[in-house]
């Protein structure tokens, strides 16, 4: 099995979303572990620009051949951009989860919420435990 990767410049949630903050804007997607667990992704339902979400609130869903799963906001904020390419090419989430497979960009309403998220090494440890539970 290929090793899943977790970039150092992202923060992670227990629901397997990542966020990368660049100049006050947070880019959000799902992790390599999540895309692998879901399998082939066929549809991504995203919110509209201008929508507001609190930390932990569902902001859309991702549909694979196996299931439809909710997407949860890592931190509170307002959506400023969505990844339009996913409408035509949802497989980008499988191919490049931290790059072309990003989902939404938000402006953070409370940057201190970032402190509640996991670092790459913490998330890696968390995923290891999750995998352990599966077995």
């Amino acid at each position: 099995m290929r090793m899943a990767t977790y970039p150092e410049d992202c923060l992670y949630t227990r629901e397997h979303e990542w966020i990368r903050v660049e100049d006050d804007v947070g880019v959000i997607g799902i992790t390599d572990y999540a895309q692998e667990a879901l399998g082939d992704i066929v549809y991504v339902e995203l919110p509209s620009v201008g929508d507001h979400f609190s930390q932990g609130e569902p902001f859309g869903n991702v549909e694979s051949v196996k299931a439809v799963s909710e997407l949860y906001m890592p931190v509170s904020g307002e959506v400023v951009e969505i990844n339009e390419d996913l409408a035509e090419s949802p497989q980008l989430v499988n191919e490049d989860p931290y790059g072309d497979g990003w989902m939404v960009k938000i402006t953070l309403s409370d940057p201190t919420e970032l402190e509640t998220l996991m670092s790459a090494s913490e998330y890696e440890e968390y995923v290891k435990e999750e995998r352990q539970k599966e077995k």
Partner: protein, 446 residues
């Protein structure tokens, strides 16, 4: 479901197995005061011969559509059903299945449903159809909920000439959801909805029109669609008499975003009110918000064609409270009946039937209008139904017709108090010419 009888000995064995001394002990979780202490008051058991005689006598009290000439429509229509429908639908492969969850053993059922969906798309001019819902009224209510999901708007504009019982069902569905249903009046001259009186706003999720409407009048769908689309609202078209699609342009070509309706006319008997068939079709871009079950075509690893349930990941039995809709079933048997009926008729056959309906209805309408004391209430074009205004009491007219084995129409006062002197008449291809002539003679004698 099978009735499984068991002997006193078997009951004792089962009680022993679960560790109860008596049947009373098994039911001890039911509070004392709710338990029945005396035996049920039931009549004495009857022999098989007595039972058959009893039900035969009961059935004979019904007025069957075969015995009366039925000029009733209003959402349930008496059409001729080719014998092939019953023969094919009675095959055990169709008759006994429930849900084709296992495509490897249900290819025949799945293919029949796929054909049904294809036929509905062709008739309505839409891109996707589901494998059916319960009936026309619940299909409309589901369309309203879908429009709310797609637009996130809270107002629904519905023509008052939509079937009154469909409107009731929409109210039942929307009442607790905080959706605001606003009714649009029909034009008192034509009986149709005038596009200029359709005034949706930026808050309107959907504009709902039935065509032919409850009065049988054909609506100008294209003009109303334009009004809805100007403000970004969805346009929902309701059809209660789908035989009309043999003659009328498909709503999909006239701007409909969702087409719903009742499919009973397609080879399904009246059966005193059910079961019937909910038709639901929409645009492909809305498919993920469409309720119900969908059968798709797929190819296996060797490239062979097959059929599977698709988008099931959004259905309730998988997604629970986050499902697209509470509905994750279909009227499979009725949908297959419709598919058989439509395949039997073919495009030309359906057109023939539709023409016969329109011509017979036009003939009776003209004859009634020539009788003194009677006139057509609305001037709009109609298909196989029309509203008659009578100077004689409506109840008396219908009673005179009933004496001659004719169910002459539906009094409208119950649904439209302003139409107290009116009744709705339907003429299908199943009405013999002799019955039409008797109908006219009875009015003449009044």
């Amino acid at each position: 479901m099978r009735y499984i009888p068991n002997s006193p000995q078997e009951r004792a064995e089962m009680l022993r197995e679960i560790g109860c001394a008596t049947i009373e002990e098994l039911f001890r979780s039911i509070p004392e005061k709710f338990r029945l202490r005396e035996p049920l008051r039931l009549p004495a058991a009857r022999s098989e011969a007595e039972l058959l005689a009893f039900f035969r006598e009961l059935a004979a009290r019904n007025a069957a559509a075969t015995e009366y000439a039925v000029f009733l429509g209003a959402g349930a229509y008496h059409h001729f059903i080719p014998s092939v429908v019953e023969v094919l639908i009675s095959r055990a492969e169709f008759f006994t299945v429930y849900t084709p969850y296992q495509p490897e053993i249900a290819q025949g059922t799945l293919q029949a449903l796929f054909e049904y969906q294809t036929l509905i798309c062709q008739l309505t001019g839409m891109e996707v159809a589901n494998a059916s819902l319960y009936d026309g009224s619940t299909a409309l209510a589901e369309a309203v909920l879908m429009a709310e999901r797609l637009t996130h708007r809270r107002e629904i504009l519905m023509a008052r000439s939509v079937h009154p019982e469909y409107r009731e069902v929409v109210r039942t569905y929307t009442r607790t959801l905080g959706l605001n249903v606003r009714l649009m009046e029909y034009d008192p001259e034509t009986g149709s909805l005038q596009a200029r009186t359709v005034t949706p706003s930026a808050e309107t999720a959907a504009v709902i029109v039935q065509s032919p409407n409850f009065f049988g009048v054909i609506e100008d769908l294209e003009a109303i669609a334009a009004r809805a689309h100007e403000v970004g609202a969805l346009f929902i078209v309701v059809i209660t008499e789908p035989i009309s699609l043999g003659l009328l342009r498909p709503p999909g070509e006239l701007g409909a975003d969702i087409v719903v309706g009742e499919g009973q006319s397609f080879g399904i008997p009246l059966s005193f009110g059910g079961p019937s068939l909910g038709i639901f079709a929409t645009r492909e871009r809305f498919v993920r918000q469409m309720p119900g079950r969908i059968v798709g075509q797929a190819f296996d690893a060797q490239g062979r064609r097959g059929f599977v349930m698709t988008l099931a990941t959004r259905e309730q039995y998988i997604r629970r409270e986050r499902a697209t809709s509470n509905i994750c079933t279909s009227q499979e048997l009725c949908a297959i009946m419709a598919a058989i009926y439509l395949s039997t008729m073919g495009p030309r056959g359906l057109r023939d039937v539709a023409e016969q309906n329109a011509q017979k209805a036009a003939y009776l309408a003209r004859e009634i209008a020539r009788q003194s004391g009677f006139r057509l209430r609305f001037s709009g074009s109609h298909f196989n139904e029309f509203v008659v205004h009578s100077e004689h009491p409506v109840a008396l007219v219908l009673e005179r017709l009933r004496e001659r084995k004719i169910l002459g129409g539906l009094p409208l006062e119950r649904y439209y108090p302003e139409l107290r002197e009116c009744f709705l008449v339907c003429v299908t291809e199943a009405i013999p010419r002799s019955a039409i002539e008797t109908y006219v003679r009875v009015l003449d004698e009044l």
